[in-house]
Subunit: 367 residues, 2 copies
């Protein structure tokens, strides 16, 4: 292998593939990045056996070849390099990296030992603008389960039907749903569960791209294709709970509240609720919301803010963290709270944007 390429582009590509490295520290080869000449370009790839990321960078290739190199030293070295052009030359399993001011020899492992990143050969499932998918990921990922007792809840439920894509997450205390209208219908229907880590990596990589993302689906794999980069991931097996049953279809109370005012008073009450599992109380009346918390040790707190009400008044208790998580990702000025009494799942959603919807379970509290 002998080639030269641009430092800035190589650095950007290394940072794309670098992030999933070292998550599973078992196999030494998984700490390495694969470098291989590939049809006039340099291919870079990494995998943790669950996710595989591949990207390509333009290169002037003199001799074909491939090697894997330790990700950390390679990324650090190329990232600190400020020469414009970098020459790579492989001698046995050591890669010489040479530029105007800097020279390094990095010892690698043969590329034949690198785990094969599977290729997907099916037709495209759907295509959508990167920004839409990125926003949806950002707005639903927070309510994914972190505890592994029910593996299906650690993933993002990804449901495609005609020209609608829904993403949903739930940890069984709250749920988040994003609905994306596709300009072109999907080629088939699908309901799959994607590991949340894949989605967060995808969100990260998407932020560097500004095009369309194409999605390919095979039996137990999904592939996202975006410009010069692709990310492939295994799926989580099992059935996602029918979360749509939990979303209330109707409501006995509806309140409109200014998002950041609600966030402020919930946060304030949370300071007094730290010792009682973040338990705070919301008392919705005709024109006013009282938010309160009581701590046997610290004291108590009450705040009031104006609201617009429809339907019944409501006394309800929530985990402050769950409410704050939701309010933290709603960009709109106002939110709507829809409830069916103090014990039923309660909807919190942006006033105008119908794409996103959150449901949170109230806490049962003694009067």
């Amino acid at each position: 292998m002998k080639l030269s390429c641009n430092q800035e582009k190589l650095n950007k590509s290394l940072n794309i593939v670098n992030k999933i490295i070292g998550v599973r520290g078992t196999l030494p080869i998984l700490n390495n990045i694969l470098l291989a000449t590939d049809k006039g370009r340099l291919k870079l790839a990494s995998t943790d056996l669950e996710i595989g990321i591949t990207t390509w960078v333009g290169a002037k290739i003199e001799i074909e070849g491939s090697i894997t190199l330790p990700a950390k030293v390679l990324t650090d070295f190329v990232g600190t390099n400020d020469d414009e052009k970098i020459d790579l030359e492989l001698k046995e399993t050591t890669l010489e990296i040479k530029s105007n001011k800097y020279n390094a020899h990095i010892k690698g492992i043969e590329s034949s030992e690198f785990p094969l990143i599977p290729e997907i050969k099916t037709d495209k499932l759907l295509s959508l603008p990167v920004k839409l998918l990125q926003e949806a990921i950002r707005k639903i990922l927070f309510s994914v389960a972190t505890d592994e007792t029910r593996p299906v809840l650690t993933g993002v439920y990804f449901v495609v039907d005609k020209n609608t894509l829904k993403l949903a997450t739930t940890d069984s205390y709250r749920l988040a749903e994003a609905t994306i209208k596709l300009e072109q219908s999907a080629t088939k229907s699908a309901s799959i569960i994607i590991p949340s880590r894949t989605m967060s990596e995808l969100g990260r990589i998407l932020s560097a791209v500004n095009s369309n993302v194409d999605v390919y689906l095979e039996e137990n794999q999904i592939l996202f294709m975006l410009g010069d980069t692709q990310i492939i991931s295994r799926l989580i097996e099992g059935n996602f709970p029918d979360y749509t049953q939990i979303i209330p279809k109707d409501h006995s109370s509806q309140f409109e509240v200014v998002t950041n005012e609600l966030a402020k008073v919930v946060k304030m009450a949370s300071f007094f609720a730290r010792e009682s599992a973040n338990n705070i109380k919301l008392n919705f009346t005709d024109n006013e919301l009282l938010v309160s918390a009581v701590s046997p040790q610290l004291g108590d707190n009450v705040s009031k803010i104006p609201i617009k009400s429809e339907g019944e008044n409501l006394d309800i208790a929530f985990n402050a963290k769950f409410v704050l998580d939701i309010l933290g990702i709603i960009d709109e000025e106002s939110v709507i709270v829809e409830a069916n009494g103090k014990l039923q799942p309660t909807i919190i959603k942006p006033l105008k944007d119908k794409k996103f919807l959150y449901v949170v379970m109230p806490l049962r509290v003694d009067e």
Copy 2:
């Protein structure tokens, strides 16, 4: 106690006294902030028994009194409050904090249980502009010893003689010295050791002030007075080593290097020196510096940058971290390296600014 004050000013004052809270978690009262009316102002104080911080905020006082309150909930609550005016009213040992939208009762501990922060009654030792002291702290604190085997090295050596103030730190591998010329001579000479934590707290608080700082010294205490805030600290007992003996008076080699170029190549070599105690090699020749590192596992690296040389060429090895620490706080474009061969203490200093000086011990390496 009954008074009202401005939220913004109270919040700023709480943040000044809040930071040293909870360092020593033993006594519950040390998690509290003292609030007391004091000659038409509200006094706020905190202590960890080593450092005491006191600040005053303007208040409209109706009833005199005092109480101590848990720092965290008080600071969080006042910091999130966005009402302009806050009313405080003490009822037994509970303080009601009331403003337009928010209300809280916070349970306190009587102020009689709060440790007395000693008062200093001597005359002023010296006075100097805040910015000078703050810069000096920032530029020497990094080389203080963190390991407690020689307690004197965990402090900042603070030496006053006529119109010169010197601050010095050393962890016995490297040393840093700042020299400040005082506009008015100090009232007496002094050589004391101030805990590094006091100096870092002081540096933090100084950044919010823009005036002069007055320094008062008593047998085992030092007081820094800055505007409405004072910080008092115990001193470290013992004798600081005579560090001036280590600073070479002469040199056989002198090199001028561009600061950020040197930092870049040292950093690059450090990637390859992680497994060998950060050991990197510098080879100074007539016009060029070669910086290199060798890792048995990873490979090796050589970089070259231009320099201006006087005197003998030099092969010398350093701990890359020590060199990077120094270069990281030199703001000037170029640095001077002065050495007496490969085994003697080596000076690194800014090209022009004579106020700061760093010495680093080379590593002994086999040829």
